[in-house]
Symmetry: C2
């Protein structure tokens, strides 16, 4: 019998006592509801302000809504959560801080850029599997308009988008983890290193993140002695069409080619051409809503059994870009299975 002390290799953990995904929920905006995965989300809200007076408040509202839905599905109350692990893309993560106002839920803030959903699942799985928390929520969001204002231009400026650009997903995903014996389960996780490939173009984040995704995938397969074939599906967060092709090329060069079972959430969520989103979706919310809508739905319906979910983050700020710095990437991976073993 394995104990919890099964750090395998330096970066990876195989959970001897895998935490259960008790429930999950996704909330998206109008554009996401019109994409190929539109039917998989729990709720879509057609007004981008969600009845709030600022984009930032709208983003907090998204988080509160997805958490509420996830709790409802598991027939749990906020008081049943021992912690929420959450983060977003806004400066000082205000989308997350303000979403938890008045909630009385122990709160641990994370910053992993668009890798946040994977990071919160990874740390949440440790806290539950280790017996430190009974139930936790992993929560994240992004909002197209709050991101555009902060990273690029306010929407009213009508800035031009270049062909390598991606479209920040408006959405929030929430997962509740607990100790119950009820699939799906989080089976293993790999913590990523920060990888800098020297990309300085803030409109080409897929390229900036692909080397980090490659680094983490290689570590995962090495540490856990497995291969891409051991998964029904491997997804990255938001490399987009260019970045996911770059990842395929990098993995080919490593001798671990990715086959048809590799896809990217940023490519899946939009019809890139029809919806005019160039290279696809991005943002913390992108991989979060694809996981908490389509992917976990597929696992629950047993259309998927073993999923490797790789959150990918581009670690830039407007200040670092203006100072001419390159854009480092990070990728954290968690594997999710229908069964405990």
């Amino acid at each position: 019998m394995l104990t919890n002390t099964i750090h395998r290799g330096r970066q990876s953990i195989l959970f001897a006592d895998p935490p259960s995904i008790l429930s999950y929920a996704s909330v998206v905006g109008k554009k996401e509801s019109q994409g190929p995965l539109g039917n998989s989300f729990d709720l879509s809200i057609q007004d981008g302000h969600f009845g709030q007076e600022s984009w930032e408040k709208a983003e907090s509202h998204l988080q509160r809504t997805s958490l509420k839905l996830a709790l409802q599905k598991a027939a749990l109350e906020e008081e049943d959560l021992d912690a929420v692990l959450l983060g977003d893309l806004l400066n000082q993560c205000i989308g997350s801080s303000f979403s938890m106002l008045g909630k009385n839920i122990p709160t641990l803030g994370l910053y992993g850029a668009c890798s946040t959903m994977a990071e919160s699942l990874l740390l949440g799985a440790m806290s539950v599997s280790g017996g430190f928390c009974r139930r936790i929520a992993a929560l994240t969001s992004s909002h197209f308009a709050s991101s555009e204002r902060q990273y690029r231009f306010p929407l009213g400026y009508g800035g031009q988008r270049c062909p390598t650009a991606q479209w920040t997903v408006t959405g929030s995903g929430a997962v509740i983890l607990g100790k119950e014996e009820k699939g799906p389960y989080i089976r293993s996780a790999t913590v990523g290193c920060i990888v800098d490939s020297g990309i300085t173009d803030a409109n080409n984040m897929g390229a900036a993140m692909a080397p980090a995704a490659c680094d983490t995938l290689c570590a995962h397969f090495r540490d856990l002695n497995c291969s891409p074939d051991d998964y029904d599906l491997i997804v990255t967060g938001d490399l987009g069409s260019l970045g996911s092709q770059a990842l395929r090329d990098l993995m080919d060069a490593e001798g671990i080619p990715l086959g048809k079972n590799y896809r990217d959430c940023g490519v899946m969520i939009f019809d890139c051409k029809k919806q005019d989103v160039h290279c696809g979706g991005s943002g913390c919310g992108c991989s979060a809503v694809v996981l908490c809508g389509h992917l976990l739905g597929q696992i629950q319906r047993r259309k998927l059994n073993r999923l490797l979910f790789c959150g990918t983050g581009a670690l830039l700020s407007p200040v670092s870009v203006q100072q001419g710095e390159s854009i480092p990437g990070v990728c954290h991976a968690v594997s999710i299975s229908s069964d405990r073993e």
Copy 2:
């Protein structure tokens, strides 16, 4: 014999297998080296740029230096770390992302504002005690000049400071945690909730954070069935002189008065009057360097045996302040003891 499954009350954890603090290090700037704790830091650097070309790069350099010193003291290499848990105050935590460039250390980014040192110790302690990581580093920093530019004005503007203002500490602290049986140990931890007391003055962050500190202290004493007298010293991160008095008043009202064994790192680090810092120090680096200089030094020399270290964070951004939002606070607590029991 206790197992790891000793979540006590909803917010607190008593570690059955308490992780060991293998080493720690602190690096500060000139002003901090001239304060009352000046002799307790490992290194002070007189040039605020630390030989770098921007304040942000200087902050990353601080982190790299404190981590390097902490590893050296424990006779460890970077490769011996299974993870670093880190964060800072800059937008998108670029101080932390860029400090890890080229390091090949699995990296988990956090955002807890000035509570980051406590949050990283708390999550790091879970990861080590739970057997998920063998050794981790908890790391944070702040820099007066990068913070002034981002939150207030560039230094060159010579902005006026009001009497309630605090001075962002230039410094970085690093702690290495492991499973070894060698004190000091992290014995327990309390995860804080976000508390909003309606303060909207970004120059009065002590007042904004005091209610969160009160909330977490009450949870800690309640969950773990202990009292302030059980500690030789209770410190808060950076409430400053006004905020720490506000905390005393709040705790009096709760019927759990804090006595002479309560102090605030923001008050300890500077001679507030002589050094013209108004209400004291602040920033992620404030509590981090006081912990990794003075406090852990006192524990190692057995002048202190039981310390309750409460990191306090004000969750604001310039955007939220400009939108008229209040400033929520958060506080995470970890108790550190010379002995395992």
